[in-house]
Amino acid sequence: MVTTQLLVVGGGPGGLAAANAAASLGIEVLLVDEGLQLGGQLVKQTHKFFGSREHHAGVRGIDIPDLLMQHQGKITVLSNTAVIGCYEDKVLTAVTGEDKYFKIRPEAVVFATGASEKFLAFPGNDLPGVYGAGAVQTLMNQYGVLPGKSVLMVGAGNIGIIVSYQLLQAGIPVRAVVEAAPNIGAYLVHASKIARAGVPILTRHTIVEASGTNAVESAVIARLDDDWQVIPGSEREIEVDVVCLAVGLSPVLDLLRQVGCKTKYVPELGGEVPLRDSQLKTSIDWIFVAGDAAGVEEASAAMVEGRLAGAAAAAQLGADKGEAANVCAQCQASLDALRRGPVGAKIRAGIAKLEGDAANA
């Protein structure tokens, strides 16, 4: 049995920030991550981040993990390790590689387990060549493997638009980005980057089907009417060997569900999300959440949430209350700064639903 004061599950932006915040407040931290390399999705984010200086604005995502590991000395890192069980008596089970199975007994846990990609139903979606955007980024930006020769991107949120830009950087033409909504969801400056690179962004459009003998050879797209239905006769075929889906994310909650954390369906935050208070404590006293697992948002917010959850957990574990409260207050102000504009409206609405419920729980 491995014991620790704080266990952080997930080494992405939320988990790294949580581990760092708790360690800097003098708490002993065990950080467990299933990847070989810490950073979660950051290791694929080659673009410069938004926000202000405190959010590492202007720094490329790939360079942020190092900045988040300043207190590495006080953090024990277990990579290539998946936490696979979480029980009411504060025992978690984990597997390193394929053969080392063990138990962890922490005093508190921050779950920063991220999100998984949503999928889309259409004929041919099981053909080789239909990818999630995360897989395209992993192949291309982490392993240096091109996913194909030409791409149809489905979804014009930040992920769809940014991955389109990265595909262009890798030398792969993006024939079009289709988006069912009437407006682009991504930051418009990102959209303008690919527009001036000649990529058409087609709002009120969807993919109808992908076809090919053994793999994707083409895709059919079509326009949508005001009721989001395909307008007959508007279909057209595009020759591509990759269909890349960037149609949203859902929080990964398996472990939280197993241990019995209360959850709620909040579509603004990606679907089912854990109930939590303003300091990111769930309905279970020793469990905190941060990052996309707490509700799908930008990585900048995940880092601040991680720091908040790490500090809140540290305070509960006996760290200097005043110091921890200072960090928490800074984080609340920082989250407010990120969310207060019009692009944060959806997130604010989602969180209002959650925190109201947590207060009444």
Binding site: K48, F50, G58, V59, I184, A195, R196, G198, G341
Partner: protein, 167 residues
């Protein structure tokens, strides 16, 4: 249109230009940032304090054209690659457009490239008159294009893939 295509309309970008007198007076910045998003590195990038966002980082940057000297330091600091610098008096009949560039190949000074507009459509041939690769630009190259002076606020990019590899 911008919201559904990513392409700013003429009335959008015209609203970002300084007055005609200032345009003639020397190089000036054009910040093509139309949406309130949480982002403010441009404000800190300017050595002349010409760019203001203020306390709410979601505010749209405002430029004080009395302070802006068109140095272009902010171009590579914008995570959205939305900043350009225009010099309408670069050479008789020609202006210079400084653009951010993160694709390969990176053209060399003296190359002639195909300049494109906000929609990616080809506009004209342009001589590369400057290539900035300062360390603090963090792998975002800034390229100066010499274009006919009536094109300075239309040209915003270079055709991808180089001249021999056009798609």
């Amino acid at each position: 249109m911008l919201k559904s295509t990513g392409i700013a309309a003429q009335k959008d970008w015209e609203g970002k230009l300084p007055e005609a007198d200032r345009r003639k007076a020397g190089p000036y910045v054009v910040i093509e940032c139309y949406q309130e998003i949480p982002c403010n590195p441009c404000e800190g990038a300017c050595p002349n304090k010409a760019v203001c966002i203020g306390e709410d980082i979601n505010a749209i940057p405002q430029v004080d054209y009395g302070r802006c000297n068109g140095c272009g330091i902010c171009i590579a600091r914008c995570p959205g690659l939305a900043i350009f610098v225009i010099d309408e008096g670069f050479a008789p009949g020609y202006g210079k457009v400084l653009i951010p560039w993160e694709f390969l190949p990176v053209p060399d000074k003296g190359d002639v490239v195909t300049a494109v507009g906000r929609d990616g459509k080809e506009l004209c041939q342009a001589e590369v008159v400057e290539v900035r690769r300062a360390r603090n630009q963090d792998r975002t190259v800034v390229i100066g294009l010499k274009v006919p002076v009536d094109m300075v606020n239309l040209v915003r990019g270079i055709k991808l893939g180089g001249e021999d590899n056009a798609r």
